[in-house]
């Protein structure tokens, strides 16, 4: 019984950690610009696919990963500079459609460059599985959890102790006031998009040894990440992490104990219930609506 529960918990936490990283990407961009960036999932795909193709060129894994993440970061900046910045007076919903266009574009480009086949990435460590209390755990899961923890800690430090982090926070709270104290909004937005893209790529590389990677892997993971961010309350970093883990664990527990057919439905039902009782998500800020 316990072994079974542990097994579900392990896989739930692993997928949950990935959702959390994607959700953090959504949160960063949302905080800086109030845009929901539906292209966030594509950065996962770019991280995974670029690593695979760099590896095929004979570049060692750590360097390939670094270059792939760098590529995603640059694409994040380009997305902000070329697609979001020129449309700064647009409605939020228009901006969302722009990001949807961008995600279709990136997917189309990836399909041209990398084809439509599935690709595998080797595990980061040589041993594949660990046995814990009767359950089995991928060593890659430990990598995923470790990376996610380091990133969350790094973000905390970034927002608490660096000028840039504080500038992003200030912008998310009050754009006008931030501008008045000399924060360059465009610069803040660029950094936010770059960070979000980087986070996405990291998640994409970390999960690829478990789930494989292909040109359209970003659709579902992106959507789940968005859901996680919303459960946590859009714009809350803690919320994104909690939301991601909650979603991942809820999915595997449902598949394990209740119904595998309806595990995704249960996840979305969870959202509806949370939103009905806590209209701003678990950790959403309670700012008054602006008139």
């Amino acid at each position: 019984m316990l072994a079974e529960f542990l097994q579900y918990l392990f896989s739930g936490i692993t997928t949950g950690a990935i959702y959390a990283l994607v959700a953090l990407g959504f949160t960063l961009v949302y905080n800086a610009s109030h845009v929901i960036n539906f292209a966030q999932g594509e950065f996962l795909m770019i991280g995974g696919m670029a690593t695979v193709s760099l590896l095929a060129l004979g570049i060692p894994l750590p360097l390939a990963i670094f270059m792939a993440i760098l590529l995603a970061g640059i694409l994040g900046i380009l997305l902000q500079r070329l697609a979001i910045a020129p449309a700064k007076h647009a409605d939020v919903i228009t901006l969302i459609i722009i990001t949807i266009g961008a995600s279709i574009f990136l997917r189309g480009l990836a399909q041209l460059i990398w084809g439509k086949e599935l690709h595998a990435l080797p595990s980061f460590s040589s041993t594949e599985s660990l046995h814990v209390g009767g359950a089995v755990m991928y060593t890659q899961s430990l990598w995923v959890l470790g990376i996610a923890t380091v990133i969350v800690l790094a973000l905390v430090v970034f927002f608490k102790y660096t000028l840039m982090g504080k500038a992003i926070l200030a912008t998310s709270m009050n754009k006008r006031a931030a501008q008045l104290v000399g924060i360059r909004i465009q610069w803040v937005l660029m950094i936010a998009f770059m960070l979000a893209a980087t986070l996405g790529a990291v998640a994409g590389v970390a999960i690829a040894p478990i789930s494989f990677t292909t040109y359209d892997i970003g659709i579902m993971l992106g959507l789940k990440g968005f859901v996680a961010a919303a459960i946590g309350g859009l714009g809350s970093g803690v919320g994104a992490v909690v939301g991601g883990l909650l979603l991942g664990i809820a999915e595997t527990m449902t598949a394990g104990y209740i119904s595998s057919e309806y595990k995704d439905a249960v996840a979305f039902l969870l959202i509806l219930l949370i939103l009905f009782f806590m209209p701003r998500g678990l950790f959403g800020s309670r700012v008054a609506e602006r008139v």
Partner: protein, 336 residues
Amino acid sequence: MRHMHSRWGSQISFLSLALVLVALPFVMQNDFHFDIATQIAIIAATVVGLNLLVGFAGQVSLGHAAFFAIGAYSSAILTSRYGFTPLPAMLAGAVGVAVLALILGKPILRLKGHYLSMATLGLGIIIAIIINNEGWLTGGPDGIPVPPLSVFGMELSIFEQYEIAGYTLSGTLLWYILAAGLLLVAVWIAQNLIDSPIGRALRAVHGSEVAARVVGVDTTRYKALVFVISAVYASVMGSFFAHYSGFITPQIASFQHSIELITMVVLGGMASTYGVILGAALLLLLPQLLTDFQDYEMMMFGLILMLTMIFMPKGLLPTFQQILRRALRRSPKTDP
């Protein structure tokens, strides 16, 4: 605000749309063109309904395809398995959707902004999952055939020829006429609604909900009302779509389809009834237009969508109108 168009202006717009719809059959070359035009008219009518919610009341729904799908599947299931004729089946679907929207509308519409989008998205996906999983009823992911539309025992199939008052008309043409008629009715209802006190209240909700509440508009009630109306629009058009295409799959309930519908609204021009019709037409034509690009098709689609929204953030029709207005204002000065 620019919604202050006169009664006269809106009648001219309506007549122009009717003229375009009448003129199209003379330009279209083959039955394939009719085929696409018919579908555009049906989807455009759906989007006109969605625009009431998104464009006028400012409530973003990312799950509208679910209502469309419930209508379509009600028609498919009730006619093929339970012996209903198409019209009662359609009505049953619409009533079911109205009740569902009414029950869910209250708690969902209490939510603001992205939380509302999130909730409608969740609702849409749950319905899509149910349709996909309950294969015994819905045919599952492989889809379900739908019998042709029939009214009082008269079957309307795009494959038949019909004798009407001495003329032989193809089913394809008759379906186009029906769909064009549906679109006109949809627009007429929407325009009347917008010009009514309800419409004014809705626009107040869009402008500022708090302000609207302060001046005594019962915002929740109006939002719930327009939510139900737009859901019923989707359901009825879903039914027609199902009968027209003859076969439906759970894809029509998918998140992706919801996104397509909302994209049509934003692309054409939010809060512009005629704009969203243009949006629907272009978005449905685009895949057909891009087939020559083959492997580049998906990339081109994304690029065109992105560029259009970047350079025309207000949507196609409002931007064209703006350019036209500017040109008209300038021309008297340049005249000698």
